[in-house]
Symmetry: C2
Subunit: 353 residues, 2 copies
């Protein structure tokens, strides 16, 4: 069956109406809309066709129609395509307080990411999720050993992308302040600029021979370094706006709310699931839309997820996701994400040098 222009218009009308009302939409409602001046009966015929094509369904015989995943997919693809044509729709988004937020000196990346999730959730009324930056290719930028207490030292490890981790190490042996400084120099000289893979046995042996007596310290520091790299691999996930799901009855019936909230709390699962989403041929600018069954998390099969990939330079990148009902305002979410991404790029890619 052919999907002619009128059918499309009707489909979009149904989707947009359902977006706002959350109730199945009937033929009368559509016929009274501006732009569609047909009688309910005509609309009904078209709707029957749309249903046959699998784009809409009726929850029950005497109800209006609701879009299917397939229907949404069509809608979203068309929407994104139109944007790509440069038709800068300017749906008068409320200016995100991003600029203000990000331009403030927020030194810790993590803090900034959390804030970002909060702003996104507040602006969209959906749930926002940000995975911490990670990169297979990150390198050791810098290492700092400092004496703390008797028998304990503080090892600060900095990776490319300004990922900083503190490690407090307890030593069995004692080490003087001067020795520590020497060691610090040796380690930095030997390790700076290397990736996890590049720190191999020969590098380690070399370091230990240079370090002389303090091989134990070297081992522990190397452990800390390895841990920092590892940690970065399972970097934290920030969520915000989880309670927003209660705004959408279709997400809160039965145990759904409970399951969703649980999933959001179990950030680990969430992170790896979302993190693993490939960036395969996103229609543009790395923005991906997953609708219903397409979402690779079981408890979110009634949701849609829109993700974007941000980059902090140096190949360090992470994902932002917006989780909402399938009838979410895709246009707004995509626009908001794009705006956020360009702000981020502006700030981080400039900072980097």
């Amino acid at each position: 069956m052919e999907l002619d222009a009128r059918k499309k218009e009707i489909l979009y009308a149904i989707i947009e109406n359902y977006q706002e009302s959350g109730e199945p939409v009937g033929s009368r409602t559509i016929s009274k809309l501006e732009g569609l001046s047909f009688s309910p009966a005509t609309i009904r015929n078209e709707m029957a066709d749309l249903e046959e094509m699998g784009l809409i369904v009726q929850p029950h015989t005497s109800a209006g129609r609701v879009p299917t995943d397939k229907g949404y997919r069509l809608y979203v693809d068309k929407m994104l395509a139109e944007r790509e044509n440069g038709r800068e729709v300017s749906r008068e988004l409320p200016a995100l307080p991003m600029q203000e937020l990000l331009s403030k000196r927020i030194d810790r990346v993590e803090e900034m990411l959390l804030k970002m999730a909060q702003v996104l959730a507040a602006n969209t009324n959906y749930t926002a999720m940000v995975t911490g930056p990670r990169s297979r290719g990150s390198k050791l930028k810098f290492l700092q050993l400092s004496p703390l207490d008797k028998g304990r030292i503080l090892a600060v490890v900095v990776l490319s992308g300004d990922i900083v981790k503190n490690n407090i190490l307890s030593l069995d042996e004692d080490i003087s302040s001067q020795e520590l400084m020497d060691l610090n120099f040796i380690l930095n000289k030997g390790l700076t600029g290397l990736s996890l893979e590049e720190i191999n046995l020969s590098v380690i042996a070399e370091l230990k021979s240079e370090a002389g007596a303090h091989t134990e310290v070297v081992s522990k520091v190397l452990d800390a370094v390895a841990e920092t790299f590892a940690k970065e691999d399972s970097y934290p996930v920030y969520t915000s706006g989880a309670p927003n799901i209660f705004r959408y009855p279709e997400l809160t019936g039965g145990d759904k709310a409970s399951e969703l909230i649980s999933t959001l709390e179990e950030k680990k699962t969430l992170g790896s699931a979302i993190g693993s989403l490939s960036t395969e041929g996103g229609s543009q600018q790395d923005i991906q839309v997953y609708i219903g069954e397409e979402v690779p998390v079981d408890s979110m099969k009634d949701c849609s997820v829109v993700t974007a990939t941000y980059s902090l330079g140096d190949g360090v990148q992470g994902k932002i996701g917006i989780i909402g009902p399938k009838r979410m305002n895709y246009q707004k979410v995509v626009d908001t994400l794009k705006e956020t991404m360009s702000h981020l790029d502006g700030i981080f890619l400039n900072t980097e040098d």
Copy 2:
């Protein structure tokens, strides 16, 4: 009216039965219990009295009885009192994996606190909340400036209690590696051991004069120090097990679930509310029980909250809270918290020297 022994027994029987069933408990149920060998009629008479005393209520005329806040209060006070008498009940708690958890080298306090919240939530099936450590009297333990990029330095600030914060500072001027080391020495000499209040204008003036040309760097570092102290004042709050509230229907009716989850997400509000709870004359060992209306957070008026104060030495302390329905298993929660506290004490008070 007198609360004789039998009335008490009946009250406790009602509470414990309601704890498990969550349904109003009737006279027949009680009369069939071991130990209480009276006819339903007799129980009814006693229940009428208990109701008159405000210890129990009926949700509606033909329903069983449910404990009131006052009833729970009586129960909890008696329970705690009995414990104080040394009757070590040993309700065979599942051995908490705390020991294992805490003995592992978890360097960052924050990580450990989050883990603790997770273990508590999993063990009790309620929601756990841990406020980060804070202390008005914390002191600067140690300061480390390191060169990072051109124009940027990393300032690591360590407060007593091993609270570590990283600050990346962007400088307008340039500073050599050697100058930075000198500055590092000067700052540590001048600031180590001081509290926020003790770093006053005269100290600052002294430092700046010693620093010579680099007063800008000194200012920025001091800002970073002040921020670290400030941050510690509003230290993060970790929650875990929020979805557990869905196990208790009385907490999820209407918008209650939504409100609760929102409160838990707004950790700031939560932290200050819980943090402000005074430790005024806790019946023992700093454990406090807040029942229903006693809870100082509006959205938790249907909950009970049990808090304990932990100490990391050096006057650094924070609070742990367990949030559950009013019919929570107070015994178990109090025991679990006590066990946790003693583990914590064992570990931290030993480490400290």
